[in-house]
Symmetry: C2
Subunit: 493 residues, 2 copies
């Protein structure tokens, strides 16, 4: 893997200076063309051996191009707010919007490789992290991102020479610390782990490019050329589609769907409700202040038919919580900023830190519900969304986030009654729109989509709770109880 | 994942019988249309809970369609010849050719799931196996295969009832053995492991379909419909391309390539050669009879410039070996049978069993050499080939196969001299063709492709040995010595 970067590549200064003006002009031009592109972004990952010119290259990229259209981020180990979220959260935050270039120094590779070299994690843990990385990268490519994965290499001898050089010059002495020499001592282990990681993650759609880092002119010009070609490629291609469509999902031949098995009319009197509400809200409040909650967070997802009572149920939950502990995230059409990012981005940004509750009024399930039914998402996009959703929820679960998902189900008659009631009630009239009536016409398509959704995303770590909601009292109590039980189950694990 | 398959789906016998004739006719028709298709194949994976109708469904598929165009294979644990090869070998053997349907009973999922349930492997090993499976499946989809992954499900209660039913009927009593009840006792563990595996392997391009197995009519009709839709989809789509093209690979800007650093003229006299040949051939012969070789096999790959002396070198290797121990695999243009399979298929079928040597005269590297240069393979295909090749060689290495790869390098003058010599020598004239002269005209393109090949596929477990071959004596001895050393290193590990 690294042999070709040890051949001793060089470019003399004169050739370098001669090549530079044309390269810079082409880079700038290509950068502005990318900026006009509605569907593509470029991410440059900068990784490799210490002293091989990673930092210099990042600086040059910013110097040669317009830095206003570049987002540069450096990643070391997680700390502070980052450590409060699942490991991939900080990378989601750093993704460039469409039309922009992201430069990720260290990227999602440095931490796992260094942890393995230091013996902090074993091969199995590294393997699981690599899986997460592969899924992230294939999602990014599916979403139109062109990944440029640069690995700057030095041989052991070259690294030693380089560190000594830097140390001996008073202007650069500060750049070499104890940590650099400590890393150098582990050169062989670092090389072995890196080779294994690069092999497993060098895919056809996002290959690694290993660059000889020993000669500054050579490595800078090479990196510049690679970035230029990537920018040009963005203009040629339509966004790539990684995901081929498989055979289509078929509805059950007996037309029996998840929702059909629910007995939507459940009895609960107003008096019983009042008692139960007090009991379960009290319990939820206690749980939110439980000492164990400092290791956990709660994500509660509310989906359901129009007029099924999501809003009312959410209020019964929030009433039990201190306002500093939760936030409610209403999901409507994505903003311009959100449309310029991969689909799951706007949900990642709303994840609660430890000890907090995030309550989603509609959610990432829009992809496999409304977007599927209305044709806003292509089949291959919503088909891959099931996997991306499971992956997202699994990452939350592994980080200690308790994920509870509610589907509030009412029948068509009950919905009609509620629509009419809303139209008749002055202050509720704003709650009923043309769109609600249109959606109602697609009742069957929604039932099918809900069935597929439950089949593909109800998991051990994030199960769907189906809520019979013709009776609002019953529904609210079931929700409060299920939420309390899910939290208790996790706290007592 | 399994909730929707526990709703109690049923279809009455009358509806079943009514639907059957049209389904069977449509299946047959779609099957014949697939058979005409030059680029698509369908693989149906049949997995799930014991007693859920897996066997019956496989029989029905064969009964409803033309069994001459279906390849059915059942997979239990590896044994015999299968255990002599890397784990994935037996699945490669079972792949259907283009235009055909493969039905894989148990498939690549049964073994890993059951091994995990029985505690024979840990989560890390299962995870690594799942990675191999994901790579295999994405390669298959890239190669035009449509995967239908069927999981037949029963709840614990249903499985118990089903096993008792089978036991109480004298005609089916034989189908229930001790093993079935032993599996039943592990139902909960089986379900948990299965859910985890299904979640990780349900991708957008090859999703799982969970089928309620409790009602024979329902499950049969459902499976039939799914297969029909898959066959229809094959007609609509061109073969999917999973792999999006990244930024193109660029040649080194200083034009310094791997081959440029080699000193191709190396001295060795005829007398020294004779001595060394005797010594190293003797050593190789001893190694081939070493007791440790029963756990290993050797794959030696010979690539190089035209007229670089591959044939002569191979003969010096085989002279040292017993004819029962090795076979030489000359790789020319693929046969018709081979063209109907994924690219790597024809190499998988040539893998040696334990204790044996396979010597490849040219190899799977054709994909990233001649096919790249001549444009026989699309860029996205040869770009993903680097990963597929590394994956293939890693699987060999993990299984104990010693992989040694030789690139025999001569310079352009030496090649010209040899070409002219061949043309002048009667019995060697067949060795030089128009194509050789044409290839010679692409010297530079080959140097570039060799450089990229070494960069991307020279790995710790399967390194390239670059052989300076202007002097044939020197080259042959270096090859024999490198081969011996590679075997010794592995035997003494």
């Amino acid at each position: 893997m690294f042999e070709t970067a040890e051949l001793g590549h060089t470019i003399d200064k004169a050739s370098y200076k001669a090549a530079l003006p044309a390269l810079r002009e082409a880079l700038l031009e290509a950068q502005f063309e990318l900026h006009e592109h509605p569907n593509r972004a470029v991410i440059v990952l900068v990784n490799g051996v210490d002293g091989a010119g990673k930092g210099e290259t990042v600086n040059l990229i910013n110097e040669w191009m317009d830095p206003r259209l570049i987002d540069t981020h450096a990643f070391d180990f997680s700390y502070g707010l980052e450590a409060e979220h699942p490991p991939m959260w900080r990378f989601w935050r750093a993704l460039p919007a469409k039309g922009r270039i992201g430069v990720l120094f260290g990227s999602w590779y440095s931490g796992p490789i260094l942890d393995r070299v230091a013996g902090k994690v074993d091969d199995a843990t590294l393997g699981a992290t690599i899986d997460d990385i592969l899924r992230l990268e294939s999602m990014l490519v599916d979403e139109g991102v062109l990944l440029v994965k640069l690995w700057f290499h030095l041989s052991k001898k070259q690294q030693k020479t380089r560190l000594k050089e830097l140390e001996s010059d008073p202007r650069t002495r500060w750049r070499v610390g104890e940590q650099d020499w400590a890393h150098f001592k582990q050169y062989d282990a670092f090389r072995a782990v890196s080779e294994a990681v690069l092999l497993r993650t060098s895919t056809g759609y996002a290959p690694w490019l290993v660059i000889d880092g020993s000669d500054p002119q050579y490595r800078s010009l090479t990196a510049g050329n690679v970035v230029l070609e990537a920018l040009k490629r963005c203009q040629q291609d339509s966004p790539p589609r990684l995901t081929a469509a498989p055979a289509p999902l078929l509805p059950p031949i007996d037309s029996l769907r998840v929702l059909d098995r629910l007995v939507l009319d459940q009895a609960m009197s107003k008096a019983d409700y009042a008692d139960a509400l007090e009991q379960w809200q009290g319990r939820l409040n206690q749980l939110s202040r439980h000492a164990g909650m400092k290791h956990h967070a709660v994500v509660a997802v509310f989906e359901g038919n129009d007029a099924a009572g999501k809003g009312g149920a959410i209020r019964r939950v929030t009433q039990a919580l201190d306002a500093r502990v939760y936030h409610v995230v209403p999901i409507a059409a994505p903003t311009e900023e959100e449309r310029a990012q991969p689909y799951m981005w706007r949900f990642w940004r709303q994840l609660p830190r430890r000890g907090k509750f995030a309550i989603f009024d509609r959610s990432w399930y829009g992809r496999v519900l409304v977007e599927r039914i209305e044709g806003f998402a292509a089949e291959s996009d919503w088909m891959r969304a099931y996997g991306e959703i499971n992956d997202f929820e699994r990452q939350m679960d592994e980080h200690g986030v308790i994920v509870v998902k509610f589907w509030l189900a009412i029948d068509a008659d009950e919905q009609l009654r509620r629509f009419q009631q809303r139209e008749a009630t002055g202050f509720k009239r704003f709650k009923i729109t043309e769109e609600d009536w249109r959606n109602r016409g697609k009742w069957d398509a929604y039932s099918e989509a809900v069935h597929d959704m439950v089949e593909r995303t109800s998991t051990h770590h994030a199960p769907w709770v189906m809520v019979e909601a013709n009776n609002k009292y019953y529904a609210r109590i079931k929700i409060l109880r299920s939420l309390c039980e899910a939290i208790e189950a996790r706290l007592s694990r």
